[in-house]
Assembly symmetry: C2
Homo-oligomer: 226 residues x 2
Amino acid sequence: MSEPRLVEVRKNVLKQNDVIARGLREQFRAAGVFVVSLVSSPGSGKTTFLEKTLTLLQPRYRVAALVGDLATENDAKRLARSNAPVKQITTGTLCHLEAAMVQRALEDWNLQELDFLFIENVGNLVCPSSYDLGENLRFVLLSVTEGEDKPLKYPTIFNSADVAIVTKIELAAAVEFDWEAARKNIQSVRPGMKVFRLSAKTGQGMEEYFSFLAEQLAELRAQVQV
Amino acid sequence: MSEPRLVEVRKNVLKQNDVIARGLREQFRAAGVFVVSLVSSPGSGKTTFLEKTLTLLQPRYRVAALVGDLATENDAKRLARSNAPVKQITTGTLCHLEAAMVQRALEDWNLQELDFLFIENVGNLVCPSSYDLGENLRFVLLSVTEGEDKPLKYPTIFNSADVAIVTKIELAAAVEFDWEAARKNIQSVRPGMKVFRLSAKTGQGMEEYFSFLAEQLAELRAQVQV
């Protein structure tokens, strides 16, 4: 295996990504927009969660989303039902978003017209972890149907994220989800990590998470004095 | 982005992988062992499915498994309860198994003592698709909780697989799983793909899948005349 050479080239790609991500972060800050990225395994409910988020935040804030996917534009179509501006980024065979893709997708958007920008990554618990997208916070979603062991099995992505969102809690009883074990596993990988438990389907737990977002935006605005 | 150079190096890695995979395939064939690899998103139930498979096949066949994971040896521990020989391959930050890892893991095993070898890949619907492991068949698992759209969103992995296994069907009603839509999506990405629907938890649908495995082994043995 020519692993060492691959690793070296990969390092250069990552470095370039970091430079672009830094530029994005400054741009977001200057515009006073709070940026959240979402990572998770495929099928954890990122798009449903994001659709609910956009729909419910829309009356109170100016929100928009970028959604990454390998092949289809289905997510953008689903999210467009929220009436928020949404743009799809198709990555082909690439298993993650990169800062340059986000930069290109935002070229014709005026960030100053936004309060929150959400970036939904490709469904993957491995690849997105090393790519900074300039976001303020990275949310890792974990659905109750996936099992409590995922933080231990994919520690890098849980480590790279700031907030864990346990989704589909309306199914917790049906799958005998052990919240205490999940909590312990998350904390062992990322001590002190903030965790929300919610159901995008029933709406349970969404308000607490919205309050958290509102606080984050207020803090950002206080800092940058937009 | 230095994408072109990365792509070029990646091609060399893939080519080397194919050479090793070809060697493995010949080795498996010579030993008369039928090899199945499992790919899926994290949390689709690969390990539960594999544990049930090993436990139920064990009285009838000589079975063993290799399990890939980034960080933990939990899967091997779970699978060891089946009493079948099981070896864990930890990949670090790599999002897929490679043929060389399988080769190393098998070094001290006598393949002629086996009827079936199962290889559980890292939970990922993107990366494992390009890496041949020398397997006879690749199964892609899709749990009903992930949604019917996954074949459309991850077409490459569905294309690279031979059989689709729809898992956790005991939860189909709770998540309002639309089997007809899932079937249509699978067939549109991979026309004619064989699909099993089963529950490793209740055992429903497992016997039909075991019959299929038995046929595959019989065919292989007829060809190689072990």
